[in-house]
Structure formats: C-alpha cells, structure tokens
Point group: C2
Chain length 131, copies 2
C-alpha cells in the first residue's frame, strides 16, 4: 500500500473523535423535545413560577408533560422546586444560576436558526408569524 492510498481508507468516526459526540448529545438532550425550551425561557424571564402559572404561560402544555419536564430539569440542576407553607399549598419553581447558562447555547441556536431560515426558506426578518 502506498502513502497516497492511506487517506482513502475511511475508518469509523470513533477512531478520530472518540467520545467527542457524547457531551454534544448531552447538551442536545437538555434542549430537545417540545417543552423544555419554553419552560427554561419562562423561568428565565419570570425567575419563579407556580405549577398552574407555568400551565398558563406555556400555552398548550398538559399537566402530565409539565410535571415530567420539570422533574427532568430539576434532576439536571437547571431549576429548583420549593414547597411553600401557604394555604392552599403552593410550589415555586425557579431557575438556578446554572440554569441561566443555558442562554448562551440558546442564543447560539437562535443566531444560527435565523440564518438557516434565510438560507433555506429565503425569508428575511421576523416574517415567520404563521409557524
């Protein structure tokens, strides 16, 4: 085999990148699905919300999905859950300082997404109201 042939042999990604893609997947999982970004955005904006408040703020979400995603975000340290000693009992969900770091990723996704719309749909500006 000659030297010039060596680069023609294409080996599995793992041999070049190892586990490079594992943290990329981790990050993606935090933002994937229909409701995680709305929840993070809501708690980033309002700082703290109750369960029913979130149900109203995030239009279309069912209590089952809200409950499920809140648990996910809590175990991932992005939000906290605190039961208040009120009558009736209220629960306040808050974004953590760590949760606020999501905004760097979301900003990057937003920037790229805007360019992508321009490129693929040839749409400029905020004219995608019917989406």
């Amino acid at each position: 085999m000659e030297d010039k042939d060596v680069q023609k042999i294409k080996v599995p990604l793992k041999e070049h990148f190892g586990n490079y893609m594992v943290p990329v997947r981790d990050a993606l999982e935090v933002f994937s699905g229909k409701w995680k970004i709305p929840i993070i955005t809501a708690l980033s904006f309002y700082e703290t919300c109750g369960f029913k408040e979130l149900e109203r703020i995030i239009e279309g979400i069912t209590p089952k999905m809200l409950s499920k995603e809140l648990k996910y975000l809590e175990t991932n340290l992005l939000i906290t859950r605190k039961v208040e000693n009120t009558r009736p009992v209220t629960v306040t969900y808050s974004i953590t300082e760590y949760g606020k770091t999501c905004s760097t990723v979301m900003t990057e996704l937003y920037r790229w997404g805007v360019e992508h719309r321009k490129k693929v749909f040839n749409i400029e500006g905020q004219t995608w109201d019917k989406c």
Copy 2:
C-alpha cells in the same frame, strides 16, 4: 391595580417573546435525532463520502435511516448529492460551505455539554468512555 402588582401578572410567553423560539426550534431540528450529528461530523471530516462508506463510518446506522437523514440534510442545503458516471455507479455526498457553519453550533453544544457532565455527573475530563 397598583404599579407594583403589574409585574406579578404572568402572561403567555408569546406576549414577551413572539416568535423568538421558532428559529431556536429550527436549529435544534437540524441537530436532533440519533444520526444527523454523526453524518455532519463524518462529512465535515472526510469532505466527501459514498453511501456505503458512510454506512461503515457511522457504526450502527441502517441504510433506511442513512437514506432518510441524507435527504433531510440535502434539502436543508447542508450537504450535496452527486451521481458519478462510474461502473458500478457511485454517489458522492459532500458537505457544503454552508454545512460547515454547523460547527459553530456544535462547538457551543460541546462546550456546554462538557460543563454539564461535570456539574450533573461530577465527572471531570474525558472519563466518560462507557457512555
């Protein structure tokens, strides 16, 4: 109603953010699923690959999924498909210049994902080999 009460009324996200989240979703869709990132990574690294080459490089992918995702990436202008006049006929998939801009998003996802692993799993460095 007093001024201090105004900020307590929490309205749906749309009233504050409009369609802010639409391009975020668009970007997310391009990177979501099990195979799009491996395909983009493979074509970014090798520049150009055949169908069977991609099947070997991306371990575990089935021809059905590879075909489906290649079509998606092509309609999103991230890759190109070119039929070569060889015998047997070969098809070369290449990353576009635009497709290369994905790396900025993936780098951000990687950076955040590494920090996330440290935070949530308390794992430092590249020790997540069993994932």
